[in-house]
Symmetry: D2
Subunit: 447 residues, 4 copies
């Protein structure tokens, strides 16, 4: 976890805490304590051993800079941590059995799992809040018309509710995915040197079960030291979630453009200003989310690339995970939090939405006329007729309706009122209400 | 799908067929046919329209080079395809209603889903076969000892069965993940211009349901044109699967090294030779799998990066998916197939495994002695004592057992027979049998 | 190279040809011919051998499907290609010496280099044309005012010329980089089985030199079979180029938004239409460029990930390059070509640019006033004063100038005319002319 | 920059210092000081202003936690930093002109450039040392034979010197590339709000020149705020460098495998041990380098993906660079340092290399015999003859030489002594000496 000046720009305070140095130390020490407790209850450690370790679980004794220095030669932080811990325990019954049966990777992987468990809980909680906030906005803006836009070009209308509903249903899927991925990833790693728990002999099953119980983690079907699919699935799930949040942020940022001005992030003192331009209200929330979405693909790729870990412990690839997965969690935590703030505080300018819609002089509605004509003529003729009408409307700056009313090929089939009705966006929302009823679970699509 | 000289190196024949030009055309035309049938049964197309389209679903009429040329200006292949199709239908009742209510993306996305459905079936089928092959090998080699290796250095023993079991249980997880991801991704996309199905008005629900039924696809909660999480989850799932297969391939390739020589790919005429070295039997199966695993992270990253698709249709990012997801499917199909061949044909040299294990002169077993001593002394003293013994053993080329028997600090606690027993790899498999019983579902871990 | 329906969407016709099957075969056969000629002139092949191979360089004899099939077991296409070639040569003097001294990788790598040489020439040529087109537009629009935009929010003005000049100078840098990267990558690979040219003994130096000369390639300092930095630098260079083109395309696509409408891609029959919306003129050129820019990072990552190739020939990683680098070349070729078309055909609506600028009612110019006041008050006070003024302007929809003229704190320092002058965008272009003079190499920045 | 427990595992101490919080603050404040000095000398700031800022450049006054908090709403750290700085300066002449003419991005980008300049100097210095260390090893082991290995299978011999020379010449190329990339990236960014330097009016050129001179940075052709190719080229160059170092580390790690044991990292107390296995000497140096090489592709991909930055300031993509590029520098610094230690301390077991070579019973030399026969028979016949011989040798465990001497088809062309000579690895080094002479610049390839 980064402690640089940008720390809070790329992590939520909660995530920063979960992945801070203190917490990582505590999780590793918690593993050693839980193992000691399990050993003790199977007679593999003297009475009082677990208590001796318990007193040190807060990690206050650790000289971190020495630990960092020694980790370079040792290859990981567990070895120097055990050295310092052993010194603390030298005069206690725990000295003999410390770490018995385990290997460094058991400590590192399981400590990571403990941190991830907290992280996932925070992520799920924030995701749930975001879901609720989105649900409210979807309901409120179920009929708030705005221009549809495809290829960044004006298109027939949709509603802000339907637009946000897309993210809402994606978010529901993400919550289910995250739960499934967490179930696969949040599992005890305990295998000893090569995954056979050999040191513990016949006591292995019992120690394994007790250790898992002390940490409230499920036992894995097999030690997974070099089978990383559970962790990587979790990483990928966060990546996909960030992609969906990026989509939301990009859409909102586009709607916030000065020339579009249909929505805005909530105003707040000191927010989104500029060091030189006094008028600025930058969409900083969306920017933060997009930054996370931009960084996620590379981080997920790293996790995937690190999967072919050699034999019973990887050489370089396992190590490549260490900063990458916490980074992804932080970005996801921050992005959910910022998305929540953006959605909750979203200022919607429905009048401007209507203005922008009308500014196309009906051209965005061309499809409606074309479809109506296709039923009388044929598809190609109708399409071409209306294409010519829109080109003329654009060239002359004349409303499409007027142009159409001057085309005999059109008026042969549609009278003025029909044209008028076809060009009214309110009449062209199609299944919007039906879709939103599905999403909001209403029985009556007319609501 | 690539038709270059390397086509079959990076795709299985089945995948090559699923993603070939003919099939893509047929799937797109199938969409148009199913839509026409739905329109017809709702009175939105004249009788006989669906039949007219049905006659063209094989795509034989398509001038592909013209289609490729026109797609450049049009921005996608559906627009020129519809032009050619419309020409074919010009004198039929279908001319009027062709494509009514749909947009290009509906065709492209749903056609892709149809191809993916076939691809997933093939992947699952091959994965199932691979699971069976692995299960057999795990059972056969449950007790075939070989050196454990961590950081590519000799470590206490494991068995080939346990080693392969890691991949086996990962593969079971992958099959479940693939099923879940497929369920999320294999869904009809049908939204019209902006996802509101406006053209179809009140008929939308009925046409949507019929279209889905004709294609035997579920209806989505909402059109997902710019919510790509389902597709990307599928892509990520394939990426994680390829990571696990890469792990298997890397391990086997390392075991096949001339200096290790513990396993070999099945021999076959023309396989793994060299253009210049007559003695070569290269592990080409493993290489192909590793190539796929090396390419997957970048492809998954592309899918993730393409997620923030603007408003109601993306600009550049949607298009970035078009070749990327089929590529991932092909690589996964090939890698599963090659893994299956490698595992089924795997030649195991158990004698050599034992030789390599014994070549460490007992040093790989150092942990066993250290753990035994730790119970009598303390952990640090025991570790240091045995460390010195292994250093001496290595320096002098003397078996570790002999060195230990000459150290009074050791012999004070362990007699010659105890040392001998501790250094016997057969006695140091720990929970291996127990773990394999879990995996193979045997009731008796003693087997 | 993909021969799918999207082939031309992701490759220029020229690139498609360079990386087609025929060309790859010809390049590999060219290597074998050039080697044979070198062998012949050093007495290592019988007279007439080179001529015999020369007659087959067009590759017409190759059964490609058989080649694809056999490549799967062989591990690469060279081995089966040599088998077919040898059959053709069986009754000629060339039969004895074919491929003498070389290994498959020599053929594959050098053939790739030959293809890359052509690709780089095309890329440089198109880049040069794009540079010229941009230069013209920069000169033409040196003083065409439009709103600056930061964080997608209105900001002080810039000119279209200066905006495009950013891409222009980047493109100049890219051309230099591409030349440097090409110089490093376009080098003969010739090392035999392990890079020692052992088969050729004392003749190696001569054969190496002649081979290089026949192919007009420089000799490498060392065979580079597993040192891929040259190729990967080329790949990365293409990736960075695509990033710059993506920036151009994104900016133009944003300016083309219906609500902004400041520029447009050239109109053309059949271009940028929709299968259902008759009014559409989608920015398909920009979309294609953005698709390429979206795909490039993953492909470059693959090339980087494939670099640690084992010992004297990689296992899986070398193979991962085979489709990846040609793909990058194709995308770069297409993106340059499409960018050229977009820039050359760019329709600029200067009036609309001015309208959008004015629509901020002077708020985009707030910095000018703030800076003027800061010289009299202090920076913070000035910034805060103007911030309040812009907020009031926005709230009331009143021009900023009017608001300012009603603030005594402002009018104490600035009179109406001064305020008016400060708010005129024409007066606030700063170094624009000076910068463009640098770029266009004019002596007189006033031009 | 990460301050976690793994900080030193993924950064060298020097890199950690360059990218620490203190240094980042100082570089940003240095920019503000240099700007103030430039303003002062052009009469845009009162006398004494620069001195007032100079006294604060060490950043001791900054409340970092407040800065981090405020940065979240502000969108970057410069805005809150300026607030704190302004407070310090409130009673000084500098209050009025602070930051005049600049924007946040000018500060952030130029401060990054200042940090990068130091980082590149360190990288070049370490790369030079590594080059020297490699040169020594190449010279020392120019004739130290070991098995060539292709596809991880035994192949004809090479020498350790030639093997390392591959990395040596790549490293030379990397140093040149890094210099070129640094030249392109280490440039002043100074453009004001939108890149026109409007606030400074006619003084812009002078202030720009002075600012650049104070920071000893070149002036850019144009402000490059949204043209990131220079930075991304630097990132890519580091990525390619890490790929080459990864290749070296992978090769050495493979040679260090217990079963190969041809080289070892230098022994050192506390190095490469295990928390449970007393005999372990893990190749931790190689692992660290490989971890960096595994992480680089994803980070480079992020930099590439962030390139299409919108208009005059990006939304999310610029921000995605902030932690990514420093991370890459750190990984490169660490990987160079660890590579240097590994190469300098490399323990070479030449006897073991010879043993491993001889263990193939001559089969690795098959190509030599095949080539000799091909000159008499033809290529295919010779290859097939020797292939059969090697198969028999392997099956029976008989030396290839004996097998060959019993094959009349062989002995018709080669007598026992010829066969013996052909199978001697010492006679089969081909151009090794010639190549090394090229690399080491010796005049006499016979040396």
């Amino acid at each position: 976890m980064d402690d640089g000046l940008n720390a809070l720009l790329f992590a939520s305070p909660q995530m920063r805490e979960i992945f801070c140095v203190e917490r990582q130390l505590r999780c590793m020490l918690q593993f050693e304590w839980a193992l000691m407790a399990a050993l003790e209850s199977h007679g593999l450690a003297e009475e009082g051993s677990a208590a001796a370790v318990a007193a040190l679980v807060d990690g206050g004794f650790v000289d971190r800079e020495v630990l960092r220095q020694e980790a370079v030669a040792a290859g990981n932080v567990v070895i120097p941590l055990l050295r310092q811990l052993q010194q603390q325990l030298s005069s206690t019954p725990a000295a003999r059995a410390l770490h018995l049966g385990a290997t460094s990777q058991d400590v590192l992987d399981t400590a990571l799992v403990l941190q991830l468990r907290e992280a996932v809980a925070v992520l799920q909680d924030t995701a749930r809040k975001l879901e609720m906030a989105l649900t409210r906005k979807v309901a409120t803006h179920a009929r708030t018309l705005l221009s549809g836009r495809t290829w960044l070009q004006g298109a027939p209308p949709t509603t802000l509710g339907l637009k946000l509903a897309g993210t809402l249903v994606a978010l529901r899927r993400h919550r289910a995915r995250l739960q499934a991925a967490a179930q696969g990833a949040l599992v005890l790693q305990f295998g000893g040197a090569v995954g056979t728990l050999s040191v513990l002999g016949e006591h292995a099953a019992g120690v394994e079960a007790d250790l898992a119980q002390h940490l409230q983690l499920p036992v894995a079907e097999l030690p997974w030291h070099t089978q990383r699919d559970g962790l990587v699935e979790l990483a990928a799930t966060l990546g996909v979630l960030l992609g969906s949040l990026g989509k939301l942020a990009r859409d909102l940022a586009l709607l916030m453009q000065t020339e579009v001005a249909e929505v805005a992030e909530a105003k707040q003192a000191g927010k989104g200003g500029s060091s030189t331009m006094p008028h600025k209200q930058n969409p900083v929330g969306c920017a933060a989310v997009l930054a996370a979405a931009t960084r996620a693909p590379g981080l997920v790729a790293t996790m995937l690339a690190a999967m072919p870990q050699e034999h019973e412990r990887g050489l370089g690839n396992w190590q490549a995970e260490w900063e990458t997965l916490p980074e992804l969690c932080s970005l996801a935590g921050m992005a959910l939090q910022r998305s929540l703030e953006v959605v909750e505080g979203l200022q919607v300018n429905a009048a401007r939405m209507r203005e922008n819609l009308d500014a196309s002089l009906g051209r965005n509605m061309a499809e409606a006329v074309s479809a109506a004509l296709a039923a009388r003529l044929d598809r190609v003729t109708a399409h071409e007729l209306v294409r010519r009408a829109t080109a003329m409307s654009q060239l002359r700056g004349t409303p499409l309706g007027e142009v159409l009313q001057q085309m005999p090929e059109v008026t042969a089939h549609l009278d003025a009122e029909q044209i008028h009705r076809l060009l009214d966006p309110e009449n062209y929302l199609g299944s919007t209400a039906r879709f939103l009823a599905r999403v909001l679970g209403e029985n009556d699509a007319d609501a």
